[in-house]
């Protein structure tokens, strides 16, 4: 009998050896687990549960994903930044002042840098670092590079260091300086330690392989490690001018909102990032936890393909817009974790249009359809899988819309599609009704208005087959320098799109967080980050 047990254990041992052989350490940098977040341990480490499956790189010139933006914002500093919730006026950051000069066909912007700033490595921050950072972003040409090259019209030669504390940027007059400054507040404007990176460069990658899971910045935190699929640990940067109260911040990759909720209630984590509206409701009144909601700049909308009959008829589109029970969605599905917004510019940006003329009017919608001569409409409705921003399941939203539209005689067939396929179909102009969300690349109204109106930009307007002369007005509005005139111009544009465009804008979601009650100072900025340096627990 023991012989058999011996053989079984031998079989198991062989299996384990096979496993061990396969699990043996590889040259890959990520295979070694990092140090424990214990410079202070649990008491001074902020633990955040979040679905970080979108992480690809922590290099500010490469990253463009929400999780990366959130983490890296606290690692690098930018020339200008926003303070608090005001997203309209950039304030001094690494640059103490800037000066815009008219230079014929270009603008010359001269930035004066703060002195005495040090990187985490101890190296001093100079104008050369700023130039290096911008140039490497342009040359690496990854996802966010278009912000510099297309929107701001920069080339690698456009930026120069005239002395250790002065940077000059030359940009064409076809781009807006205001927009450029706003772009600089984003993570792509993060200044990296050129001296350190030059020692870490391999094969002309500007240190990108190193910055994938390390950092070289001057912000209040630096990257300790990124264990793929598991966690990102930021630890306090002693060389930073801003001294955080926390010693470390740990982002744990936990995709299941239920697990996030449980961990929060048990006190195993401090902040849960991806809770649904029901879970937020369930947390109310529970001891030790609190919830907060903040504005996001996202818009959840349904795109109607204006090239697809009968959606090419503006009355049909208006009818679909009119039939939706927006209040019901916000109140019952989102439980108030969202705002009824029907224009293409979200609240928080200049150019926000408060007008919300649509709320379920079955009679009016039906008569619009009659006027259009369309009474028997059947459409395919592409819907993403999973949860929509605001904490409601996409499928629940879809089901609600389906029933709202059924009330006016329009049949929609819900087709829940994986993101990959949905985007591919949408981009190819092959969708009929597509529900999705959009967030601006930078907090400027143009970042929404242009994609939503300019067919040639091959963005949202293109995907919905809508080519309208309003696009020209949108471009003109972008370059207006007088803020009041700009807002007025955008009002006219957004009013037009409200009734003529191929969009049913449903709501602007709130970003929901569950927190332990002892966590203070966590203020979410709608761009997609929080200043972790001001958080205490």
């Amino acid at each position: 009998m023991f012989k058999q047990l011996r053989h079984i254990s031998m079989a198991l041992a062989v299996a384990a050896l096979v496993a061990a052989a396969c699990g043996a350490p590889t040259p890959s940098a990520s295979s070694s687990p990092g140090a424990s977040p214990s410079a202070g341990g649990a008491a001074s480490t902020l633990v955040i549960d979040r679905d970080t499956s979108d992480l690809i790189s922590l290099d500010p010139a490469v990253l463009y994903e929400f999780s990366a933006v959130f983490a890296t914002h606290n690692v690098y500093e930018t020339l200008v930044k926003f303070e608090g919730t005001d997203l309209t006026t950039p304030k001094p950051g690494l640059a103490t002042s800037w000066d815009i000069k008219d230079a014929g066909s270009n603008w010359d912007i001269t930035f004066k840098l703060k002195s005495g700033v040090k990187f985490a490595s101890g190296n001093p921050l100079t104008a050369d670092d700023v130039v290096y950072s911008v140039q490497r972003a342009i040359k690496l040409n990854k996802s966010p590079a278009f912000l510099f090259t297309d929107i701001a019209g920069l080339k690698a030669e456009s930026i120069k260091a005239t002395d250790p504390t002065t940077v000059v940027v030359t940009m064409p007059k076809t781009s807006s300086t205001q927009t450029f400054l706003i772009i600089l507040t984003f993570t792509i404007g993060g200044v990296v330690d050129s001296k350190e990176l030059k020692t870490k460069e391999t094969a002309g990658d500007f240190g990108s392989a190193y910055l994938l899971d390390h950092s070289a910045g001057s912000g209040p935190f630096s990257v300790d490690h990124w264990t793929k699929n598991t966690e990102v640990l930021l630890k306090a940067n002693p060389n930073s001018a801003t001294k955080p109260s926390l010693s470390a911040v740990l982002f744990k990759h936990v995709p299941e909102p239920t697990n996030q909720q449980f961990a929060l209630e048990k006190g195993d984590i401090d902040i849960a990032n991806d809770l649904g509206s029901e879970q937020i409701a369930a947390l109310q009144g529970k001891a030790g936890v609190t919830t907060t909601s903040a504005d996001s700049l996202l818009l959840v909308y349904v795109g109607m393909n204006a090239m697809f009959k009968p959606l090419d008829n503006v009355k049909v589109r208006e009818a679909l817009r009119t039939a939706v029970d927006y209040d019901g969605i916000v109140k019952n599905l989102l439980k108030g974790n969202g705002k009824k917004v029907q224009g293409i510019v979200p609240k928080g940006l200049a150019g926000y249009n408060e007008s919300t003329p649509f709320q379920a009017d079955v009679a009016k919608a039906k008569s619009l359809l009659q006027e259009a001569g369309q009474t028997n409409i059947s459409l395919e409705f592409l819907v993403p899988t999973g949860s929509a921003p605001g904490g409601v399941a996409w499928s629940d939203l879809a089901a609600k819309l389906k029933s709202d539209w059924a009330a006016i005689g329009v049949t929609v067939n819900i087709k829940q599609t994986a993101t990959a396929e949905l985007l591919a179909t949408y981009r190819a102009q092959k969708g009929q009704l597509v529900m999705i969300n959009w967030g601006p690349d930078y907090p400027d109204p143009g970042a929404n208005v242009n994609p939503f109106t300019d067919y040639k930009a091959k963005s949202i307007s293109f995907r919905n087959g809508w080519d309208d002369p309003i696009a020209t007005k949108a471009h003109e509005a972008e370059l207006i320098s007088d803020p009041a005139k700009r807002v007025a111009a955008y009002k006219e544009i957004t009013d037009y799109v409200l009734h003529n465009g191929p969009y049913v804008v449903l709501y602007q979601p709130a970003e929901l967080f569950g927190l332990r009650s002892n966590v203070k100072g966590f203020n979410w900025s709608s761009i997609g980050w929080a200043e972790l340096a001001s958080v205490t627990k």
Binding site: E256, P257, T258, Q261, F262, E265, G276, E278, Q279, A282, G328, N332, L333, T385, G386, A393, S395, D396, A398, A399, K400, K402, S403, I414, K415, Q416, T417, A418, E421
Partner: protein, 290 residues
Amino acid sequence: MVNAAAVSARGLRLVARAPILANPLNVVAFVLIAVFALCALFAPLLAPYDPLFQDLGIRLTPPSPEHWLGTDSLGRDILSRILYGARISLLVGVVVVVSAGLVGTAIGLVAGYVGGFVDEALMRLTEVFLAFPALILAMAIAGALGPSLTNAIIAIAAVTWAVYARLTRGQILSLRRREFVEAARAMGATQMRIVVRHLLPNALAPLMIQASFDLGSSIIAAAGLSFIGFGAQPPTPEWGVMISEGRNYISTQPWLSLFPGLAILLAVGSFNLLGDGLRDAFDPRLSRAD
């Protein structure tokens, strides 16, 4: 001398050790399956509400006299959804087993009877399909074809057929040399006749047992695929979809996920029970396919 008539009669009669219904467990199995089938077939008559009707005013209410199993996040009646879900699950189970069974059995017949290189090649093919962990292959197929119940059925059938091929082939191999074939040949029967009238019925027992278990496992597989978003889509009242829809409410409204899970447990359990009963009833050596 072999009495041909007696041999063929013996060949057709499925060799059962004891009447199947003598064992009370089998009775339980049949009853449960009957209940399941009735729920599935008569769902429109049995369900108190329309499974898709949303009443946002009564979302998330616990079990009550008006809604025996409570309501879900959109105010839909859970009992009605479970009854309609039985239809979907039954459909999935039957379609998968019938299609995979037919394809697999046909391939196994060919392999077993023709032998030689064809047999080798076909058996390698089954090995390839058996090497895939079922859910991963199903995910790959469903992912490639797009998330829908139909594609989930295709994916699950694709991972199921191989077993039937091997079972059938095994049976054919062990039976073909036996007396009935010799006798039938002696009687002048054609190849086809031999296969259909003599070999197949005896191969049937392990196939039926396998089918019974597969009815259950394909329901679970479909629910699993739906749970991760690859199979049936909301608002379809498929049990896996319902569990998925309820998972974020587990701490406060556990009944959303609890009842569909119990439904799966009962349905699959009854098929497993049936499979056990069948296996015990027939000569256990018959079911030990290799």
